[in-house]
Assembly symmetry: C2
Homo-oligomer: 477 residues x 2
Amino acid sequence: MSATLRRLPQTNDFLNRLRDIVGVAHVLTDAQDTLPYLDEPRGLWHGQALCVVRPGCTEEVSGILALCDSTGHCVVPQGGNTGLVGGQVPDCSGKQVVLSLTRMNRIREVDPGSNTATVDAGVILAQLHAAAEAADRLFPLSLASEGSCTIGGNLATNAGGTAVLAYGNARDLVIGLEVVLADGRVLSGLSKLRKDNTGYDLRNLFVGSEGTLGIITAAVVKLFPRPRAMATAFIGLASPQHCLDLLLLAQSIAGPDLKTFEFMPQLGLDMVAGWHPKLSVPLPDRHDWYVLMELASPAQDGLADTMIRLLAAAADQGIVENAVVALSLEQRTLFWRWREYLPDAQQREGGSIKHDISVPVALVPRFLEQALRAAGDVVPGARPVPFGHLGDGNVHFNVSQPVGADRDGFLARWSEMNVKIHAIVVACGGSISAEHGIGVLKRDLLPDFKDKVALDVMRVLKRTLDPHGTLNPGKVL
Amino acid sequence: MSATLRRLPQTNDFLNRLRDIVGVAHVLTDAQDTLPYLDEPRGLWHGQALCVVRPGCTEEVSGILALCDSTGHCVVPQGGNTGLVGGQVPDCSGKQVVLSLTRMNRIREVDPGSNTATVDAGVILAQLHAAAEAADRLFPLSLASEGSCTIGGNLATNAGGTAVLAYGNARDLVIGLEVVLADGRVLSGLSKLRKDNTGYDLRNLFVGSEGTLGIITAAVVKLFPRPRAMATAFIGLASPQHCLDLLLLAQSIAGPDLKTFEFMPQLGLDMVAGWHPKLSVPLPDRHDWYVLMELASPAQDGLADTMIRLLAAAADQGIVENAVVALSLEQRTLFWRWREYLPDAQQREGGSIKHDISVPVALVPRFLEQALRAAGDVVPGARPVPFGHLGDGNVHFNVSQPVGADRDGFLARWSEMNVKIHAIVVACGGSISAEHGIGVLKRDLLPDFKDKVALDVMRVLKRTLDPHGTLNPGKVL
């Protein structure tokens, strides 16, 4: 390969030492081989790399980091390469090493008695779902990319998704971690303990640090009893405040059985309908807003009654305009399609300026009222389709271009739109990255939004745990 | 005061500067005034202090720390002074400053719409319970000391208690934190956000650090819908394995409605009965083990049916020997008394060698079998009364002295007993401090039990965040 020929002798020496650690077949340098690790799915970032190294076990990760840290090579850890903020993509220097964890995909143990699973970082989320199910258990983390994202990536980015309301973020689902530090030392914390107060909580320092403080190589995660009954409703409502009122009512009546509370506007349904004209509309009339609400319980019965009682109470109080409850698994699947197809439909509608924000749950209506107005002020005719996890205060405030407008011209307004929307977020005490993380996309925004002392502490932690700047440089900070 | 007269001029200058910050009335130096802050309730530790300072707000805490850090004075933060490992007690040098947070006891806000409460660190846990209840919400953290412990202390020690099974530890109940760092800088993280992925998770670094990395001055905690229905059962079983089988069955049938799963042996009941002879026995016959199990739900009804169905299934499978369900609030209170009176009864039985340990839930039976045998090997006739939070794998393995034995002679075997029991804990992959923390009691044990790399990282974090060793020196590390 010409690219290889032009490399300096010390580079060849470095690559040979990597090959000694993981085997020749697992150090990729050929452009064809490395491409899938350098591009990210939406095409927003494309990087170059010295090589892609694919370790098969924790000891190999340790060896790679010890080598890179001592020779001044930077390492970009990568799981399923599905992140939305560019955290998993190397820069364009061609000097960084991409460390892919996908070969480490062993489910080490499922322990139904302790309700835990011990897994390698490269295990694909759907694979973990299946392993839990085979033991009559549930691993609840649920995302659009679950067929290709890895549990290590989920933990490194503290992934969210549609089950956060009942089960929490990735952070809340992990009990123990094995982490390789920048210099190759292995922090062994694969405990299955529900309670352990022996010193500082190091686990949460690495969860959500996007590979900048250490590389997660394995985890012990929580399993839950598998729901046996489910009740799903598609509900039409007049306003975000009505959606919030319904949420509080549902929490007070169904408590922890409330598992899903996703919302979207009529425009979202219109977009999905436009691209999927054969999909049956769930409700006969049009409503300004919709909620997809799901209850689930390990008990066999009683849940349909709870759902009916809940919806009847909501109707009595004038909270909902109309609602339909799924009577079959097919109907449930149909309801979910309207939610699941939305991001793709919005992408097909042309340019979309995205915001992954959160505000205190009670302030979602205020945020939406102000943000919807602001989006139209920045680009008249722009079509905001805010949707997502109302129960967590997490809104994907994505703004589609005006019909027929120029895509690039619209996307050129990205920053301007961000500034306006983020100002409203801040005024509500919110966050500019609710679940997608910082990566490179929001790195330069962070100093404007983060508490100065918190940012100082983050920087000092980074310097302390990664003094040579080996781990995922240029991400987060 | 003679003690004051003997102080060096620079000490008087220091005290005057403290008085400038908090007011004369809130710097205590008189022996009478300081005593309640220097003794801990069980009389295991008694310290001396230069003074006790009682700030009224975060800015005052900041001023105190800036002063102490720059003048080389060490600070021992203290909440309700109820900790069980001596973390809140100063050493005997008389040079340390006790910083009591009890004056900071304001509930800043209860937001039922966002299901959060924002509170000062010195708010007493029971006060927070009441504030949540007044807003028709539940704050679930529940401990024996809830009438006097503070939420700041609960968070600093990551308190556990009887509601961990359903709601998690203190760590799991906090959303936002305000923390004063060693040098007086204020880290403002009082966000009400359920999701926020803007950088490293600093919150969990301070939760459970026992005041050695920063002083928690305020917190945003999660509130939950208040349970409206409750079903409580007292159950007799033949062995710990049967208790575990019942736990798994209860989780699969009742799911998140399972709120309490406490266990204790017959000897525990005998001890309580001995000191409370008028307390009605919950079950007519004797059983080797007992479980106090509680379901709770925001739904009004259906729970008693679930409990009956659960117990019938358990009986069918030969898991339980007998069970009784509380038919009134009085009966529920009675069941709980048997659990709540146990620690006190055991104390009255003479010397007790304590272990607050956890193991993976599935290994509780194995641990108990081995530990019960070991306790008798160390001190023949010793009476172990293991009890606690089986659902979390958390056993209070407390060993009472043989009947009529010499108390001091028995307690002199403390270390020897610890060594044996902790060896079994370690062989089970367990922890020597499940919920009480490290403090001074277990500080010197930590290096034998903690992963070496984890301990190194803990030490480097301590040096980074508290370079002058100002915060609670000699605790944890």
